[in-house]
Point group: C2
Chain length 401, copies 2
């Protein structure tokens, strides 16, 4: 088996360089939009070419680096766009890691490896836009009509930097497996003092928006027993939900009431209406189904017990994705070789482009720790040594594929 | 004892007429401001003069109708301003009732009775502005500097309609007692099928704004046991508050969490911060004190048990007011005579100008039912027969004073 020796100084310098471009002071690029973003894209294309890879851009704006030759190769990548106040590693790390492993494998005459930076993962237009079109989950025409918060369509926003090749399809059939390395974006590895996570699945996500309507009233003259107060309804609802979920969840299951809007929201008025959104995530579809039932049954019971009207809307569901078992084993062996005893198997609680890739080819993922679990924030960070270690595990696994 | 015979057609016609003036289609006037409001004020002054009373306006804009003679007299009144989308009876009823009883008593050669319409009860500038200045709780200079939501000061907003006398003090010493009749603004009488409420006290009000700060986080990657989620804190807080209050309250005690603000308020983010306001009302100061302790202790316990920071701010307190026991008995006797078995003694859960009057003279209040308990709404209404009945009780009581 070839040894793919990565150049850790080059990896870290490229990550630092990418940070200097773009919006929000983070240096990670959003979809082709501002001059700084076009500059970042042009720089990334130059680095791909310098690594000996062919630069290719597909019609939705995914940027590839392809090794010489025609046989199906390994694809490694992530995204280089960022949340508005996002950090420097979410996505960018996986792109630079893919570039370095592809470069090093070419140098070592190892397996043929391509790199990709997917367009608009963070959802300026919709979540995972670029990989959805590439994997055939969304048509190009549908994607081009999507608009951002300012009403600008993807078709209008996409600009092609000078010097890049004309857009052309880069078919998934050109690749035989997909690997993605990403920061964990959660506290599990950091809290446990571990350095690598081998992802077994990407959790499914469900959410539902609920509206409890009661009777708006004077907060002084309405006795407690005659109130139909939807804030009290919300409190009982979340309380009961916690208790019922506790009987069926695993330690990896999560649920969140992150959005609450009270109307009219004045201290002297018994509220008339509360909107809230419940979101729940788990890797097991049966458990997600059972949670959906609990979300709905509990809401109905609380509403009828205190005389509230209940409307449910905006139910959303994203199916869980399972990583390829053989690839997971390969990553696990590499992790144990490079970081013995300092890694774990775990689910991904966040969505990733890898979920789309899995529709077309075997897929697996690696995590490195996020300091204090912080992501989507300027504070997002990972130890340099862990950034390098993660890419070493990735390179070792890729060498054996 | 003289019988003061009220003219019920005149009473209802005057109430209907007042409804035709002013903002929001309600016909009840706000402080001298728009032409329609000035018209309403001018009309009210004309009706006071037609009733044989002397029109007087004090420096803050309270409008009085004074009977002939110099001895201290009974004062009956309320306010004729309204909430932005308020109904036609909140305040206006008590002013027209006072006018009719004063007129009828003069006609019947009964006790000398004056009427007052207090300025800005509803709080364009501050709550109970006019009666606060008149009773000496606020200086005229302080009141004139108060501004509304648009930054207009009371001094700027007050305009004197043509034809009204120049402003001059109308000292509280000119009056020997104060009576106010008002719609209940709550559902107690309507629900019980009763027609008169004899108010024993006006509840005290306390409120406190609380801020729970946790750790904003990714809703997918943060395990439940590592979260410091202030929405979960709020739910446990309100739940515990309900349980602890239940051990010390009476059926007349009320508490409300009417204001909740979640940050950043997005379905996919574990919230970082929740602001909420708790308000509680009771007629007993000792109970209010105990509730303050529970509000604070429970918040501290919840915050420390799940690792939230707690900030308390905006603590506000309005003391309970007790009606004059002798006046309460006089009103109770009149209620039993006019509406036998169809009345009750009760607290007022809302603040009224009567609370300010009580600083200077014996005070008591009557309520008539609010249909379905609705007030501060265009839907606010009371049966015509109940409006008349209430003034008959008021007139009978006044005749015996």
């Amino acid at each position: 088996m070839t040894t793919i020796r990565i150049d850790s100084e080059r990896l870290l310098a490229d990550l630092d360089k990418l940070r200097t471009f773009g919006r929000c002071g983070t240096g990670v690029v959003r979809p082709a939009y501002s001059e700084a973003e076009l500059d970042a894209r042009r720089w990334l294309a130059e680095r791909i070419a310098e690594a000996g890879l062919e630069v290719a851009v597909d019609p939705v704006g995914n940027l590839f680096g392809l090794p010489p030759g025609d046989d199906a190769c390994i694809l490694i990548g992530s995204h280089s766009d960022s949340q508005p106040e996002g950090g420097w590693l979410d996505g960018a790390y996986g792109v630079i890691a893919g570039l370095e492993v592809a470069r090093a494998s070419l140098e070592a005459d190892g397996p043929r490896i391509a790199v990709v930076s997917f367009q608009d993962e963070e959802g300026r237009f919709t979540t995972l836009t670029g990989s959805s079109v590439w994997a055939g989950q969304l048509t190009l025409a549908q994607a081009q009509r999507l608009t951002d918060d300012e009403g600008i369509s993807l078709a209008e926003a996409c600009r092609q930097p000078e010097g890049l090749p004309a857009p052309a399809d880069v078919a998934p059939e050109r690749f035989r497996s997909f690997l993605e390395i990403h920061i964990e974006q959660g506290p599990v590895l950091d809290t446990a003092g571990e350095r690598i996570g081998v992802v077994e699945n990407i959790v499914g996500i469900r959410s539902e928006r609920l509206r409890f309507t009661g009777q708006q009233n004077h907060a002084g003259t309405t006795p407690m027993h005659l109130r139909r107060d939807p804030v009290q309804g919300l409190v009982r609802y979340v309380n009961d939900l916690n208790a019922r979920f506790a009987e069926i969840v695993t330690p990896a299951t999560v649920w969140t009431v992150g959005h609450v809007a009270v109307h009219p929201n004045a201290p002297s008025i018994v509220p008339g209406q509360v909107d809230c959104t419940v979101q729940w995530r788990d890797a097991d579809t049966t458990r997600l189904d059972r949670m959906t039932e609990i979300v709905r049954e509990t809401a109905s019971e609380i509403a009828s017990s205190i005389g509230l009207e209940l409307e449910r809307s905006g139910y959303a569901t994203i199916a869980p994705t399972h990583c390829d078992p053989a690839l997971v084993e390969t990553l696990a062996e590499a992790a144990e070789a490079v970081a013995p005893g300092a890694w774990r198997r775990m689910p991904s609680g966040a969505l990733h482009d890898a979920a789309n890739a899995s529709y077309r080819m075997p897929m697996a993922m690696l995590f490195v720790p996020s300091k204090r679990g912080i992501s989507h924030s300027f504070e997002e960070d990972t130890e340099r040594a862990d950034l390098v270690l993660g890419v070493e595990v990735l390179a070792k696994a890729a060498a054996s594929l």
